[in-house]
Subunit: 407 residues, 2 copies
């Protein structure tokens, strides 16, 4: 017998959690059990959910509304097909609406995993593409691109590229538009990337935002790739994990996919409802084949608790899955003064990703990139940023003056 598992946190002041767990295990699989005749039970046994664990949190003096239990249920693989919608509907479809309950973790069986090749490139493939193995990567985000024409876009791209970043990504709110359609902006930006590369000596990946009707995403992607695209950005949650899975596992999609967390905040921030960030942006993004995964960092403007961030990182990178690791990209409000914290928490396999922290640099976008390059150099050598700034790195110095250093 092979099972996938789901772990929930249920809040209830009175419930018999053991009974509640049994009712989930039965209700979300065979529907009823005690009323089944014995002969029927035998044939249905293989379809019956199993309660693996019920851990009640009920200390002395627990406040009303705060009594909870962590419950793990095993769902027989034989009940659902090998796709993410089927798993999610099975483990959280109906019960998401039944009381205060949050889905906190999934467990995938080998059998289920066999349908998911995972990231085509992953951390190793992205490093191969860039030829960079010994340091964190640096990504820059286009800023204020709506309404820009191709010349303005190229200009902004070039300034980012000359700063020495490894990746540049589209703004996730840049959709197909007449001024900068995907195949044209890919062509223009990649040409600009080549020119910049001759100056910086660095390779560059440009993640172009893949948008439009679901059924045309693949042809859009292929069009972009034919125009030279070497990466794609994708609003995975707005389309559904299965769409990401089908794109990432398609042999014609020959470039890494960066998954944007757009809309994730509709699910994860509540304590009592929804789906945890580590399931949404960790487990499911990797399962669906995202090569890079963006998520709010615990350092910057759009924040997430550090513990939750570390849980995402662990799910993206754990060696216990038979697939490549996805590259974590903690984002939002990142400036050079945060780089030592990012490296402390994520180690070397991380993308330092900045928008305002690059474009808003007092000396301009190009200097903004350089300041990050310098911050990464310093942090890797465990040199204090302020000291490194003083040792002939004026861009870093200006960044620290603007935003400070967080330690």
């Amino acid at each position: 017998m092979s099972y996938c598992t789901a772990t929930y946190r249920l809040y209830d002041d009175q419930a018999d959690f053991r009974k509640k767990a049994d009712s989930i295990a039965v209700g979300m699989t065979v529907g009823s059990w005690t009323e089944l005749p014995q002969a029927k039970r035998e044939s249905m046994q293989k379809h019956l959910g199993q309660v693996l664990n019920v851990d009640v949190h009920e200390p002395e003096g627990v406040k009303p509304g705060e009594r909870y239990a962590d419950i793990t249920i095993a769902y027989p693989d034989v009940n659902f097909s090998r796709d993410i919608p089927a798993l999610l509907v099975t483990v959280f479809g109906k019960i998401s609406m039944d009381g205060r309950i949050k889905l906190n973790r999934l467990g995938f069986s080998e059998e289920y995993l066999s349908a998911f090749p995972g990231p085509k490139f992953g951390i190793s493939g992205i490093r191969d593409a860039l030829g960079v193995y010994d340091r964190p990567l640096l990504m820059s985000i286009f800023k204020s691109v709506i309404g820009l024409n191709m010349d303005e876009l190229r200009d902004q791209f070039t300034r980012q590229a000359l700063g020495g970043v490894d990746l540049i990504k589209d703004d996730e709110i840049l959709f197909e538009n007449e001024l900068t359609p995907i195949e044209k902006r890919v062509e223009v930006c990649l040409k600009a990337a080549e020119a910049a590369s001759r100056e910086t000596g660095k390779k560059l990946l440009y993640a172009a935002n893949l948008t439009g009707p679901t059924s045309r995403l693949k042809s859009q992607a292929v069009k972009a790739i034919e125009a030279g695209a070497n990466a794609l950005l994708f609003n995975a949650l707005a389309y559904g994990y299965d769409v990401l899975h089908e794109l990432s596992s398609d042999p014609d999609i020959t470039v890494p996919i960066a998954a944007h967390p757009s809309l994730a905040g509709a699910y994860y921030p509540s304590r009592h409802y929804g789906i945890s960030a580590s399931v949404l942006l960790g487990q499911l993004m990797r399962l669906a084949g995202a090569d890079l995964v963006l998520f709010p960092s615990p350092y910057g403007s759009v924040t997430m608790p550090r513990e939750e961030n570390m849980a995402i990182r662990d799910e993206l990178m754990t060696g216990s899955l038979p697939m490549k690791a996805s590259m974590p990209v903690p984002s939002a409000g990142i400036h050079p003064g945060l780089v030592p914290l990012i490296l402390r928490d994520f180690g070397q396999d991380v993308v330092v990703n900045a928008g305002g922290g690059i474009h808003g640099h007092p000396m301009g976008t190009e200097a903004g990139g350089r300041a990050f390059v310098q911050a990464i150099e310093a942090a890797q050598q465990s040199i204090r940023l302020a000291d490194y700034a003083d040792a002939g790195h004026p861009e870093l110095k200006a960044a620290l003056e603007a935003w400070g250093e967080k330690r």
Copy 2:
């Protein structure tokens, strides 16, 4: 200029909500404004979001954590493509992760709506298919179908059909499986429906669950339709609204689609986060073309506040949209004793939908259907159920004895 709008509720104890609204209007559109040179502002004006309303809720003695504002922002249509992912990413992509914020309402421009034909059948088309115009419809849900073989499935279908229901729907956790693949169960059930029709004199729609990989959903649907399917069930949230939209607007999908609310509880129940039920299960389901929309009722086992339910109903049926109305299907824990309440709240254009309230009837599934038929007859004539039960309707009488009458 043409805009779509989004209304949020933001909770914050200190924020200057007017400033916050401005920052959303700028940040989610042109990115920056005050630092733009005048010439640039002129060309960017048409892309700039507009604050339409800021309504601060701050009575005397408001508790910490409970100060909020309702904020409406207008987003220029020129910024995004005519698809649901683009709209959602634009209005809630990034800011869903930025503090305590809930998306409570959308407003669609005529221009945006022009890309959405809406429900192909809607209330009127479903009534035409059934030939029933003067009463609420009655739907029955398969129960405990995982692991059933075709004979067992047919048997359960027949018992439901003979009870006099108008629609029968698959369990949403019934995926493609060897025992009862969609084209075979459609064939078997529709044959059983014909046989039952000869006894009841009623037509019957059977909504078969459409599952599997996204790219193969259309061919699955066509296969089911070729096998005789006259309706489909679809876990819209597990796949994404755009997938529903593409299916519903496809000329080859010639049958009504019932959208299941599976996973909706991951978004709507929190006061502080997520997306309201009336957006999720009202506005977006209708926009995406669902002919019937299931949602938790305020009466039964899986509950939702009545006000929220009425908001869903209003969005599904409002005459202010240039598209057919979707049929509301308040569900979960419905028994015959609730029928008068359902009719009071929804009027005649509603599907009374029951699972346990039919299969769990003391006299069996067939009697369970009859009890509902009788309850609807009574409620339409404003006869008390108990009186109608006593007037020669033993099935209704048994149902009321089992579950009572709620008034």
